[in-house]
């Protein structure tokens, strides 16, 4: 109980948040625009690259297998890990953050888009081939229109997660709200920490609403282009530094670990796995009841409105920021990482689960209701079993994501392999850093492959989500 009291005592220090005009003005002047610019710039870049590459792969033009493999490889290096690398190579500040985000998300979106294209209904595609049309034309007349809706849904969801990602890369010195957040925590200025978190929640909710609008009027997204192009240009990496960057990369090789460090690798990997799976498990346990409570077709309005706000907040605080808070509250090591991933994923799962329940075909449920069954029985016999397949798919996808998150939790002292990686970077042991980077990459890659294998066996495609 003492620990709990201590935690509440710690929480008290966050109140009231610093909403003085002076501080808000300071936030508005630099960190907020910087974060949004980074997000928009990275988004524009990665969406364009992703779409082109995915169309190329979807049309199965020469070398598509190689490109697909490249995407899968690149997206196995988590964004923050990439940012740590780019901070070393390109230097501290927004350009390295944006470069890391753009690279990671080009690969991540590119892979999803490519999967969408490749899982497109084969019959219209074959019919187009049968007219003697070239592969590229089949892509434009068949793949693009038949997947347009999924591309938009996923694309707008991506923007939201990119804003969160921008905050995260900020924590390793890439600028924006993340750098500000770390600053307030390091200065023990928790009232301002809360302000930054609130700003973050508001931003994410606003973007969520905008995304909803964009799905209805896709042309709005075109307006984002100039918004993204300007910061992308302003934050372009300095080309003069290119030779310097090459030199730095060369100095990092070959990757080396001392025998002692080598013996410690299994522990680090085990911890990382514990964080990933434990966190996901915790989130599932919490999100099932919360998801039910947030479903508009199940719960009473007061309940679902409240639960929805709660889930929004949990979701808007990135897992890494949850980790920061927990670590600051003296919950250290893998426990913090596990809880952090659990809390953030609860917000994500809660929303997705409730949507799965709301999207259930109404007919079988109505048939049940016609028997005079009460609400709870309806849920148990109709809605939940029917919503289970999409829920399982969404959870499976998130496991991949949480694996990435688990590898970076260490950066803030929340356990796992990220700690070793970050320490190596901070102490300029670049050979070691690259070694840990390769282990991280391998770990995530294996997880992705295992997951892809499972999905193949269960005949699940990303397009089905």
């Amino acid at each position: 109980m003492r620990g709990l009291e201590g935690f509440f005592g710690f929480l008290k220090q966050f109140f009231p948040p610093d909403v003085s005009w002076g501080y808000l003005k300071a936030l508005l002047k630099e960190p907020i625009p910087q974060t949004l610019e980074m997000a928009a710039g990275a988004m524009l870049f990665s969406a364009t690259v992703a779409l082109l590459v995915a169309l190329y792969i979807g049309a199965r033009l020469p070398g598509w297998r190689f490109l697909y493999g490249l995407l899968a490889t690149l997206r196995s290096i988590p964004d923050l890990t990439m940012a740590i690398l780019f901070v070393v190579v390109v230097g501290i500040g927004p350009p390295s953050g944006m470069l890391a985000l753009a690279t990671f998300y080009s690969a991540a979106m590119g892979k999803v888009f490519a999967d969408l294209f490749m899982s497109a209904d084969p019959e219209p595609i074959e019919a187009l081939h049968a007219t003697g049309a070239g592969r590229l034309m089949v892509a434009f007349y068949g793949l693009l229109p038949s997947r347009q809706k999924d591309l938009l849904t996923y694309g707008s969801y991506e923007f939201e997660s990119k804003v969160r990602a921008c905050v995260i890369v900020g924590t390793v010195g890439a600028g924006g709200l993340g750098t500000e957040l770390i600053g307030t925590i390091n200065a023990l200025d928790f009232r301002r920490t809360l302000t930054v978190i609130i700003v973050l929640v508001v931003l994410v909710v606003l973007i969520d609403r905008m995304a909803w609008l964009a799905r209805r009027h896709p042309l709005i997204l075109l307006a984002l282009a100039p918004l993204g192009a300007i910061p992308a240009w302003e934050n372009r990496p300095d080309m003069f530094a290119f030779s310097h960057a090459v030199g730095v990369v060369r100095a990092m090789l070959p990757p080396t670990l001392s025998p002692d460090e080598f013996r410690d690798v299994p522990r680090l990997v085990g911890e990382t796995l514990l964080i990933a799976f434990g966190g996901t498990g915790l989130a599932v346990a919490l999100a099932v009841p919360l998801g039910v409570a947030a479903a508009r077709n199940l719960a009473p309005p007061i309940l679902y409105t409240l639960v929805r706000r709660l889930l929004e907040i949990m979701r808007a605080i990135p897992d890494l920021v949850w980790g920061l808070l927990l670590v600051t509250a003296a919950i250290l090591g893998p426990k913090a990482g596990l809880l952090a991933i659990g809390l953030h994923s609860t917000g994500v799962f809660g929303k997705l689960y409730s949507e799965s329940i709301e999207n259930v075909e109404p007919e079988p449920v109505l048939a049940l209701a016609a028997t005079g069954a009460p609400r709870i029985s309806l849920a148990g016999f109709g809605l939940l079993p029917l919503a289970f397949p999409p829920m399982a798919v969404l959870t499976l996808f998130r496991v991949e994501w949480n694996m990435r998150a688990a590898t970076i939790m260490g950066v803030i002292g929340a356990g796992g392999i990220g700690q070793a990686l970050y320490n190596a970077q901070q102490m300029f042991f670049y050979h070691k850093m690259v070694a840990y980077l390769i282990i991280t990459w391998g770990l995530v890659m294996l997880m992705d492959l295992a997951n892809a294998g499972l999905r193949k066996r269960w005949k699940i495609t990303e397009g089905g989500v």
């Binding site: 019959e123 081939h129 049968a130 003697g132 049309a133 070239g134 034309m137 007349y141 229109p145």
Partner: protein
């Protein structure tokens, strides 16, 4: 020289299972209308896909206009496909495109890449006229600008036929074109296909379940079962003769 000449065609799915098509031989002359009868899984669809170069030929030969299909790739394969149009029972239109876009997809084989892309964004009046003309011939000119997902099942089939017309084929492969339609619509679609074949002069190879339609509309009927042709060249059938007699 026949338009389509298939000799001793064998198509296998895997080394272990029995062949999907076993020693199939078939000739179709220019402008001829041939029906293929057979139960589901007899190999009708595979036969059509083999003609179009979508399934590998294990042994035997398929020639279209004296060009061998076996081993054709890339540009040469696309050139062959330009002259063979396909209409099928499957939903093979791109639902999100407008009707005229689906119809003019039939021209993709002869259009340049630039023209095809430009058409998606900004179709010329003459191109729209061509689409409308094709749609008029299948009787649904008024659906020109509708979204394809909004037209009915029978109209879907007509859009697919209009696409085939735009392709200006020498041979039209119709793979169970009436499988999902009611008897009235089936009758309409088959007579439309046959009339168009006569007007435009293309050969028609059409697979069906219903033998009464086969004898009513086609010059020649072939029966295929378990991947093999059972009876060849049934030009007149006792059923049809009886019915003619009864009338």
């Amino acid at each position: 020289m026949p338009l389509l000449n298939i000799t001793n065609l064998v198509v296998i799915r895997s080394r272990k299972s029995s062949p999907v098509l076993n020693d199939v031989s078939l000739r179709v002359e220019r402008g001829e209308k041939v029906a293929i009868l057979g139960p589901s899984g007899a190999g009708k669809t595979t036969l059509f896909r083999a003609i179009n170069g979508f399934v590998p030929i294990h042994s035997g030969q398929i020639t279209v206009d004296d060009i061998s299909v076996k081993g054709l790739r890339g540009r040469r394969l696309r050139q062959l496909r330009r002259h063979i149009a396909v209409v099928s029972q499957r939903h093979d239109l791109v639902e999100r495109l407008r009707v005229y876009q689906n119809v003019m997809a039939g021209a993709l084989g002869r259009w340049s890449t630039v023209r095809a892309l430009r058409f998606l964004l900004r179709p010329l009046a003459t191109e729209l006229q061509e689409a409308e003309e094709a749609l008029r011939r299948v009787g649904i000119a008024h659906k020109l600008r509708e979204r394809t997902s909004d037209v009915s099942g029978g109209e879907h089939q007509r859009v697919a036929i209009a696409r085939a017309l735009v392709q200006q084929p020498a041979l039209l492969l119709a793979d169970e074109p009436i499988a999902s339609l009611d008897p009235d619509l089936s009758h309409q679609i088959l007579s439309l296909l046959c009339r168009l074949a006569e007007e435009a002069g293309f050969a028609l190879l059409c697979s069906l379940h219903q033998q009464e339609y086969a004898y009513e509309f086609f010059d020649r009927v072939i029966r295929i079962e378990h991947g093999q042709i059972q009876r060849k060249d049934l030009r007149r059938s006792p059923i049809v003769d009886e019915r003619v007699g009864a009338d």
